[in-house]
Each structure stands twice: as C-alpha cells, then as structure tokens.
C-alpha cells in the first residue's frame, strides 16, 4: 500500500502542515510503511465488536452553569505573537 506524492501533499494541506518538496518522497515512504503495518488489522474479524473510544465505561460528568473564570486577558495576551486593541491579529481573512 503506497501513497503518492500528490496524496501526501493533499493530506499536508488538510493539516496545514508545510513540508519541504525534497521531503515529500520520504514522508510518502514512511506513511506507506505505516499503512503496511495497518494491513495486519484485517487479520481479525471485528464485525460484531463494539469500537472502544475510552478505557473507562463512564458517562460524561456535568458541570453546574456558573461563571467561574475571571478576565485574564493581560496574562494570556502577554504570550501572544501579535495583538492590538485586545484582539489577536492574523493576515486578513477574506470573506
């Protein structure tokens, strides 16, 4: 099972992950290797098996509807790459 460079680039775009042109082939190779590993999963029939998302068979706990967080904007924005007038700045978003 092998991935083409084109597929790798598509996945990289979905993940907004910049990968160098010269590395694409290597990533394709690595991913193909991983996918080969995955084929082992088809060795076992799992038609009647329930998928398991969590080790614990627990229900989601509910939180009381109360405001518990105060305004910490200053602290949070002190570590931001670019802020102005309390807003996070990014290259213009075209709508």
């Amino acid at each position: 099972m092998s991935l083409t460079a084109d597929e790798v680039n598509k996945i990289a775009h979905l993940a907004r992950l910049g990968i160098d042109k010269q590395d694409v082939a290597a990533y394709a190779n690595d991913l193909s290797g991983m996918l080969d590993l995955m084929t082992r999963m088809s060795e076992v029939n799992t038609d009647d098996v329930e998928p398991m998302a969590h080790p614990m068979d627990q229900a989601q706990r509910l939180r009381v509807d109360k405001v518990t967080e105060l305004n910490h904007r200053e602290a949070f924005q002190a570590i931001a790459p670019q802020v102005e007038a309390g807003l996070y700045l990014v290259p213009k978003v075209i709508e």
């Binding site: 080790p55 614990m56 570590i79």
Partner: protein, 483 residues
C-alpha cells in the same frame, strides 16, 4: 546524599539532618555538573531556592508532608505557570505557560521543590528522546546510548541522581521504556487516575502521567500526591485514592503471575529473556506461582495504536497555529501561509509524520477501515487483559526487546522504532496500570521487568515491586561517573 532515596531524604529533612535549601543546592550543583546528559531543558534555580526556604519553614513548624522540601523535576509536558513549557518542541520554545497543570499544583501544595523542566521527545512522540528540538538526551549508563523516550530526560535525571524523582507521561510506553533503559522504577497509572489538565495532550485516550523514581516505595509516595479526581478533566475518574504505602509489605505468598506467551516469542533479545527468567525465579522464591497465559490479540496492538494515537494527536496539535501563542513564522503573506509555515517550521519530522498519518486515517473514505477498525481491536485487546486478569493477579513480561540502542541507530527507521514498543503499547490501549522495575543488566546496560495489573490496582503493583526490591539490589546500582 544525592544517592539517598526520596523516602530517606524525607526522613532526613524531618529529622533536620539537613535543610531543603541545602538539599536543593546540592541537586542544582549536580545538574550543572552533568549537563552533558542534556536531561534538563530549563533549570529554575531561583524558583527552587524560594520554594526551599518556604519548605524549611513548614518542616520547622510541623506542617510538612512527605514531599515537602524534596527536589523534584517535571517532564516539560506539564504546564508550569510563568516557567517555559516547551514540550521538547520549537513550536513552544518560547511558551511561558500562563497556568499550572493540576499535577503541578498538587506538587506545589505538597511543598515539593521544582528544580526544572525535563527534556523529552517532541510532543511526547518518540521512544529515544532523539526527536527533541533541544537535542538528544544521553543514557547515564552509556553516554552513546539513548535513555529511551518520550520521558528520556526524566529517566536520565533520576538515574543520574539529578533529582530525587521526576514526573513522566506514558502514551505507548513513555514512562516504562525509559525507566527500563535507565535502570529506574516507572509507573503508568490506570487511565483516569491522574489528572490530564495542563498535561499537553498527545493522544487523549491513552496519555497518563506518573512517577519515575529510584524504587517502588518512592513511587508510592509520589503517586499519592499525583493521583486523584480532578473536576477540570472529564476523563478523570472519581475513585478514592488508597494509601499506596500501606500494603507495600504484604507477603506475595500465593501470588499468581501470568506470563503471556506472546511476550516471549521472536524479537526478544535472549539475554534480556534470561535476565527476566532470573527475576521470575526470584518471585517464585517469594511465594508466587508462575502461570502461562495467552493473549491472542496482543500482536494487533501496534497497528491499532499507530492509527489511534496519530488520529487523536493530529487534532490535538491543530491548535498550534501561530495565532495565540507559540511559534509564528516571519512575515506570513496570507492565512494559509501563516498556518503552513508556522506549523511546518515549528514541528519536527516525527511529529509531522504522525500528524499526516492521523489526518489520513480520519479522512473521508478511510475512517472505517482505519480508525473504527483500530477502536474495535482496542476492545479486543482490552478484553484479553480483562480475561487474563480474571485468572491471575498480575501479568509480567519484558518492557523492551533489548537494552538501550545507540544514539542515531534507529532514528531514520521510524517503523523499526515503532516496533520496539511491542511490549508496552497494548497496556495503554486497555488503560490498565503497569510498572517497569530494574531486573538486572546485560553487558552493563539495565534491563526492566514489566508488571501489569488490573484497573486501579496500583497499590498491589507497588507491593509486588517493593517485595522484589527487598530481596534484590538492581534498583540501587549507580551509573559510573554519577556516584
């Protein structure tokens, strides 16, 4: 003094044989002396000293806990307020966390002293601590060998006596494997036992934080502080925390130990196998019974893990986009450029591999074949454990196929690296607790023995480990040069 166990140091502090300030300075000096290990990313001497002074006050007025005044170090995956929290990545190389992880708060309340943040594989992805942006960590037993990963810095620090104990995290073996390769004790608790709030996520349904220490008694003390329900973590389990030291000395007479035949087949170095066989004999002498068991779905753990973990991590790491914190590329021309270059430049190769794999596994058309299938296999593996643990008290086996490999040996062969997780990975899929304890040496390099227990049986595991450590000495050996 640096060679004393945490328990001994605690007694010494209580007895005022030495102060926390003295002890802290001692460790800080050692850290400085042994920078060649590259175990620490950030050392926090001022903070540590300030904490030590407060600890000494508590020790003086009788309000001290067991951990008060004890110098510890945190794997750099736990958010520590106003202290760099890098996760071993360029992406967070400048990230001063604005809050404390719950685990960090617990250590602070207990009065522990934080020496610094420990090196790790980038975003906890790796088995050798070679993927860290801050450079590889060296194994104190052989500076040309890997310490294991992802908690490589933690294992090296404890092994080289650069901290009285360390925290680690384990998603596919990242506490147990480095513990084994560095000759120390490591415990991965039951999933949900330790809060994940503030513990930077790799694979949410597999990650657990735990203690890395010199021995089981120390691990019990540290786990006592780390464990407990946290309302900020929806996956945290509300189950009472027992006294982990209370049952350490229980006799092991009649203990049933299961050895899965799947753990002792091809791929296990014969010398490691022989070392473990000696350990099993030791357990027989302690009164245990060794039973052969089978866990037929274990071999599927690696493919299942390498779908689930990357899938979860691909989404967990989407937040690193250069907008609100962390690395941002220079002069982005548009939004897409901001994202792709910040992430492309901020993440290392292994992280990118796993993000790509995870994105692929979740994408349209592949979800059923990969992700869903992997979650079904996960249930089969979990059931294997449940069935096995219904017939035996504990499962034992290797932690690693061999002792520590050389730095640079496997890093270019990711698949080979993944395959070395063979003994540890299934445990995370099931969520059961497991430990690695020193069981001997092969050619001067440590070998670890793995103990796997039923859900929330950490106290039993610690007892089983402790009894072994009463009659063996492997956990007391010191690597040359670090005496």
């Amino acid at each position: 003094m640096h060679n004393k166990t945490l328990a001994e140091l605690s007694l010494g502090l209580q007895a005022k044989t030495y102060s926390s300030v003295e002890l802290t300075q001692l460790f800080l000096d050692r850290i400085n002396q042994h920078q060649q290990l590259n175990a620490y990313i950030t050392v926090t001497p001022e903070l540590a000293m300030a904490q030590a002074k407060v600890a000494d006050q508590r020790l003086a007025n009788g309000t001290a806990d067991l951990l008060t005044g004890i110098p510890i170090a945190q794997k750099d995956i736990f958010c520590t307020q106003d202290v760099m929290t890098t996760c071993g990545s360029k992406m967070l190389a400048n990230f001063s966390a604005p809050y404390n992880a719950t685990v960090v708060d617990k250590f602070n309340q207990a009065g522990a002293i934080m020496l610094g943040k420990l090196n790790m594989d980038e975003f906890a992805m790796g088995s050798s601590n070679e993927t860290s942006y801050f450079g590889a960590v060296r194994n104190p037993w052989n500076l040309n060998s890997v310490p294991g990963g992802s908690s490589g810095g933690s294992a090296a620090a404890v092994s080289a006596r650069l901290a009285a104990c360390a925290t680690g995290t384990d998603t596919g073996g990242s506490i147990r494997q480095p513990a084994a390769l560095c000759g120390i004790t490591g415990l991965k608790p039951t999933y949900g036992r330790v809060s994940r709030y503030g513990m930077i996520a790799y694979a949410s349904s597999l990650d657990q934080g735990g203690p890395m220490t010199r021995n089981a008694e120390d691990a019990a003390i540290v786990l006592q502080t780390m464990a407990g329900f946290d309302e900020k973590d929806s996956t945290s389990v509300d189950v009472p925390v027992p006294d982990y030291r209370a049952g350490l000395n229980k006799s092991l007479a009649g203990l049933k130990i299961g050895l899965p035949k799947e753990f002792f087949g091809e791929g296990l170095d014969e010398n490691v196998a022989a070392t473990l066989a000696t350990a099993f004999d030791e357990y027989r002498r302690l009164g245990a019974e060794i039973i052969d068991i089978t866990m037929p779905n274990l071999k599927l753990a690696i493919p299942a893990y390498y779908v689930i973990a990357p899938a979860e991590c691909s989404a967990n790491l989407s937040r690193f986009d250069g907008v609100r914190y962390g690395y941002r590329c220079e002069n982005p021309v548009d939004l897409t450029d901001l994202y792709t270059r910040s992430r492309g430049e901020g993440f290392g190769k292994e992280v990118k591999r796993r993000i790509l794999m995870g994105t692929y596994a979740l994408s349209t058309g592949y979800y059923d074949a990969y992700y869903l299938k992997a979650q079904k296999i996960r249930r089969l593996i979990s059931e294997d454990f449940k069935a096995a643990l219904a017939s035996v008290d504990v499962i034992m086996g290797p932690v690693t196929p061999s002792t520590a490999f050389g730095i640079g040996e496997k890093i270019d062969d990711p698949i080979a690296m993944y395959l070395s997780d063979i003994y540890t990975i299934a445990i995370n899929l099931a969520g059961v607790p497991a430990m690695s304890i020193p069981a001997g040496f092969v050619a001067g390099m440590p070998v670890g023995l793995q103990l796997i227990g039923d859900y929330f049986s950490e106290d039993r595991l610690l007892n089983i480990a402790h009894q072994y450590q009463q009659v063996t000495d492997w956990h007391n050996f010191i690597p040359t040069g670090f005496e």
